[in-house]
Amino acid sequence: MENGLTAIGAGLAIGLAALGTGIAQSRIGAAGAGAVAEKPELAGVIILLVAIPETMVILGFATAAMILLLGG
């Protein structure tokens, strides 16, 4: 039971973070694609902007790893 709850907690930690990252990236990506179509030289900056929300899922991964390692 306890192991199951730990696993669900870890899943939620990374899953919700991934969802948040996805939502943010979809909006930035859509705007970025429009910007790159107008100004191709902005490609580097757009990659950077799209990549910024990924920190959320990485922190989710770190949290999930800690839940599994310390709580499991």
Partner: protein, 630 residues
């Protein structure tokens, strides 16, 4: 590293302006700026006379024609080097080719349109066939096909009523389905009423099914048969025209490509004139050349123009240093990474060029994420093969970068004991460092990636600090110094918490953290009191961001394991092998793409922000295309 640049002015008599520009285009080493902007009104922009403007227009028109021909014949611009561009008759040959080529292309376009239209006619005719009354084949009768939208149910009734009124009830009208949205109507009436019915249909504004004229007067069956025959001959004619175009492309390719380059070069000459300045008697070119090319430039101009042209080097002021164009100079190993640096922002002339550091760390991160001997070897082989096929440019650079990453991946594969995921373990391969997929070593993996992150960020901060010292920039010194102290303090705190360092270091570490935060806040001005501590926490986020190396690596390992397990679970060996290969290929594609993006992000967001400002402008010398082809 960036080339040392020399700011110079070339001054000569106006009569020599075009020959001098030609010489500069051939030399291809001068980045030409607009002249006279900072000379206090002594030098004015060069006035281009009407003759030159007319010539420019002519050249534009000729270039449009030649470029159109190059596009139609799909000619590779690199062929330009194969013929002598000034060879006699090149322009005449091309002028003669133009009408012939236009006729061929028009014919091809007509045939292609016919190829598309005829099957649609045939399909509609087949659907209309049951609607034709017996009189339709009679030469005294004429038929009108109509395509009507089902949305307007009243239209067929209206048309039928009008047709009956015009012909006195002698018109036969039939209705049949074409598709869900359209129905066909066929009106067959004595030929004497053809004109009146046609006019009525035009007034009603309905879509008429008009067959090409050659099929119009025949019976419906004969029209379908002749449509089919025509379709076959159209295909043959189209192929013949395509072959003729290919033959022309082979015959005239080098000549057209050379002519295109000649015209582009000549136009470039006229365009560059607008950047020149003039005094009453002289013209002035102002620009930048790498120090290494200065002597070549001076000697060539002196040999060709003697004392009539003077090359005058200008002193490099602080303002000049800020706007000097940047030409990167890196060893061949690091050169493919220059494009990635430019993609973020071109380095400033007196700033740090991070290309070499990127060449070291980016493939390292990539290899750490992919970390598999099998994937690394396949990727390395693939990239080396692809590299040969690409011409020098962005794609070739990308294959080189991925090849470096694949090399590191093989090395990390040995350290983690991975060969196509768990296959290595089954074949008796043991990790030299640790098995990163094992839960027992998860902490080791996370610690390793964080350590790499700390080293990377520390290096960035040290470079940033050095930039601050070199430029005597108080803001940078405070900001980067504060971050550096904060990072060192965090390392000490973590060291004490995990019992690696004596507990007595906790107080000095916390004091260091406070000092770092104060310095960072001071660099941010009044809002620093609020933003400073947040920025310091952000620094922790930057370090944690390197955990992505572990996360992406683990996802790659687990996908490889899934590939192996699914393949093993399937009863049939062949199906199992196919599934395993497909999943491994998918993993390899993801494994090539994802680590590249993530490594780039770690550089752009976490590394560059500590020292790199960019904002420079790239060195773009005025250079003739033909000179590069040769």
């Amino acid at each position: 590293m960036t080339h040392k640049m020399v700011h110079l002015q070339i001054i000569g008599l106006k009569a020599d302006v075009l020959p001098v520009i030609h010489t500069l285009g051939e030399l291809g080493c001068l980045h030409i700026d607009r002249a006279g902007e900072d000379t206090g009104g002594m030098i004015h922009p060069l006035t281009v006379d009407a003759v030159l403007l007319r010539r420019q227009e002519e050249l534009n028109l000729q270039l449009l024609q030649v470029s159109g021909m190059v596009d139609y014949l799909r000619i590779d611009p690199a062929l330009a080097g194969l013929v002598e561009p000034d060879s006699a008759g090149l322009a005449e040959q091309i002028d003669q080719l133009l009408p012939h080529l236009q006729a061929l292309v028009n014919r091809r376009d007509r045939l292609r349109a016919e190829q598309e239209l005829l099957p649609r006619f045939e399909e509609t005719m087949r659907k209309l066939l049951p609607l034709f009354p017996a009189t339709a084949s009679d030469a005294d009768y004429v038929s009108f096909g109509l395509l009507l939208s089902r949305e307007h149910a009243e239209v067929p009734g209206i048309i039928q009523r009008h047709a009956a009124e015009i012909t006195g009830g002698r018109a036969e009208v039939t209705l049949g389905p074409i598709d869900a949205a359209t129905q066909a109507m066929l009106i067959t009436a004595p030929r004497a009423f053809a004109e009146a019915i046609g006019a009525m249909l035009d007034r009603q504004d309905v879509a008429r099914l008009r067959l090409p004229t050659e099929f119009d007067s025949t019976s419906p069956d004969a029209a379908i048969a002749s449509l089919r025959r025509r379709l076959n001959t159209v295909q043959e004619e189209c192929t013949a025209v395509e072959r003729e175009l290919e033959a022309l492309g082979r015959q005239y390719g080098p000549a057209l490509a050379a002519r295109q380059s000649v015209l582009q070069d000549e136009l470039q000459t006229y365009n560059i004139l607008s950047r020149l300045g003039e005094t009453e008697q002289t013209f002035v070119v102002q620009g930048w050349t790498p120090q290494a090319d200065l002597e070549r430039l001076q000697t060539t101009l002196h040999e060709r123009f003697g004392e009539r042209v003077i090359v005058h080097t200008l002193p490099l002021t602080e303002a000049d240093r800020r706007r000097a164009p940047v030409a990167l100079t890196n060893p061949a190993v690091a050169r493919p990474f220059e494009g990635l640096v430019h993609m973020y922002s071109t380095p400033r002339y007196d700033g740090i060029d991070p290309t070499r550091l990127m060449a070291l760390f980016l493939p390292f991160f990539f290899g750490m994420m992919l970390g598999d001997i099998g994937y690394g070897a396949v990727l390395l082989g693939g990239m080396l093969l692809l590299r040969r096929r690409f011409k020098p440019g962005m794609l070739r650079n990308l294959t080189t970068i991925l090849a470096y990453g694949a090399g590191w991946s093989i090395l990390f594969g040995l350290l983690f004991g991975e060969l196509f995921g768990p296959l290595g373990e089954e074949l008796g391969l043991h990790p030299l460092l640790f098995d990163r997929a094992s839960p027992a070593h998860l902490i080791d993996l996370l610690a390793m990636t964080l350590a790499v992150g700390v080293v990377h960020i520390l290096l960035g901060l040290l470079l940033g600090l050095w930039e601050g010292v070199r430029g005597r920039d108080r803001h940078h010194l405070l900001e980067r110094g504060g971050r550096l102290l904060g990072l060192v303090a965090l390392l000490l705190v973590v060291g004490v918490l995990v019992d690696l360092l004596p507990e007595g270091l906790m107080t000095p570490a916390l004091a260091l953290l406070v000092v770092g935060t104060v310095l960072l806040s001071a660099s941010l001005g009044k809002i620093g009191i609020v933003i400073g501590p947040i920025e310091m926490i952000g620094l922790l986020g930057n370090v944690l961001s390197y955990l992505r190396i572990a996360a992406i690596g683990l996802s790659s390992v687990y996908l490889a394991r899934v590939a192996g397990e699914i393949a093993g679970a399937v009863g049939s060996i062949i199906v199992g092998i196919i599934i395993a290969v497909l999943l491994h290929v998918l993993n390899l594609v993801l494994g090539a793409f994802s680590p590249t993006i993530q490594s780039l992000r770690l550089h752009y967001v976490e590394f560059f922000r500590n020292f790199y400002e960019g904002g420079g402008r790239a060195y773009e010398p005025f250079r003739y295309r033909l000179a590069t082809h040769e």
